[in-house]
Amino acid sequence: MDVLIRALLLACLLGALPGCNASIGDPGVWVPIDTVAGPLAPEDRALPAGVPRMAANPLRVVTFNVQLGANVDGIAAALAGNDNLAHADVFLLQEEESYQEESAARAVRLADALDLGCTYVPAREVGDGTHGLAILSRVPVDNVEVMDLPDSSIANPRIALRADVHVAGSTLRIIDLHLGAMLNITDRILQMRPAVLHAADTVLVAGDFNSNPYVWDDGKVPVVPVSVVAGADQGPILDDYMRTLDYDTPTAGVGPTEHMYGVSSRLDAIYTRGLQVTPGQVERNMDVSDHWPLWVDVTLP
């Protein structure tokens, strides 16, 4: 009888242990940003008059998570002082914010400091402000659209931003993403997929994919032994998924792009399709964010 009771208790315990699938919701659709009103309305700044539009083919594209972007002057100085980034053509930024008590969205102020055009699109409200993505560019950008990404119950609302960049008679479609932090790889793919699956044949996808090296229990606890023993790095798996969609993975070998608490991880990436692209490079000499800027040069067909 004792054995039976113990077996039943064991079954109860195992049944109650974590290990279910987290649900992930439905994706939105691409929506022109000029149709978004209310607290999540975008803010933008046109290209400054008189600033030469010097972009040429190839085009240098940078992705950078600015960690809330509060230190606008510091970020501007760091970008302007970096030989590889000072003359970059397009910046896809993540974790930008905007607050009423500040003169303008931080991305707009950063664009002002760098003489760039800017579009800032909030993903969610934060206190009396907003948090979202931005595209800064020294070349014309239009057809900007936003998509609500499918969202697991454990993550903050996430968006993707899509736009057309016009260079020397050609058009490059770009997609800027910031995915949830504590997702497992299967949910991460499901969250990203609507933005990249049916993208144009000539496209660049970049951002903070949060492709951390962990398997998560319920989005709260990283199950460290799995990462240590079996190797659970989400970055290579995400690269593999994108290759099945005919994307090139020029940043697969760049190494860490983020550092925090003494741990460095490759959370950021750039994927291209239908483009000639150089191997990615990370600017690790900058310390204005927990992420480092990542960039490539792309040649349009």
């Binding site: 109650a16 998560w216 199950v223 032994p225 079996a230």
Partner: protein, 172 residues
């Protein structure tokens, strides 16, 4: 429906209470009369929370003598469709202790496999396997019930990291 962690904690508390009851229950006159002379309780089975397998495990160990034992923990769990399987044998050393209370060291390899099925039709999914090593140190209470709490360090293809574990089981 109860939150998952609350349900886990509730199940664990129930298990502890029952094992505690079994361990410390007063024997009846009938059972006392029928009980043979006590033999060493060399075998133990237990449930492990966190620990060598990552999230949880079920284990067995055998006490070879006062200072030495051996055992293994097996684990299987599914996290967002990712299936984790682990087998972790170990040697147990008991350098310190008195009576039912002892400090222990466990040393052994970890064999782990992660299968990641594709959540979408355009991709085939992937899997990975690895072998690591773990050294655990902690406290053990062993009487009719077995209780362990410990800290561990482990190393493998993904680097090295600390982790924690706790075990609860019974001996026979």
């Amino acid at each position: 429906m109860l939150p998952r962690h609350f349900a886990s904690a509730t199940a664990l508390v129930v298990l502890v209470m029952l094992l505690h009851g079994l361990a410390f229950a007063e024997p009846t006159a009938t059972t006392t009369a029928a009980t043979p002379p006590q033999t060493p309780r060399r075998h133990a089975v237990y449930i492990e929370l966190l620990g060598r397998g990552g999230l949880w495990g079920a284990g067995y160990d055998y006490q070879i003598n006062r200072w030495l034992g051996a055992g293994a923990t097996a684990s299987f769990y599914v996290l967002d469709s990712q299936r984790v399987t682990a087998l972790c044998p170990y040697i147990a050393l008991y350098p310190l202790g008195h009576g039912h209370h002892r400090a222990f060291l466990h040393l052994g390899p970890q064999f782990m496999h992660v299968a990641t099925p594709s959540p979408v039709p355009e991709w085939n999914g992937t899997s990975s396997s690895g072998v690591g090593g773990a050294l655990s140190a902690g406290y053990e209470y062993r009487n009719r019930i077995l209780v362990r709490v410990y800290a561990m360090g482990e190393a493998g293809r993904g680097g090295a990291a600390p982790w924690l574990g706790a075990s609860l089981g019974w001996t026979f």
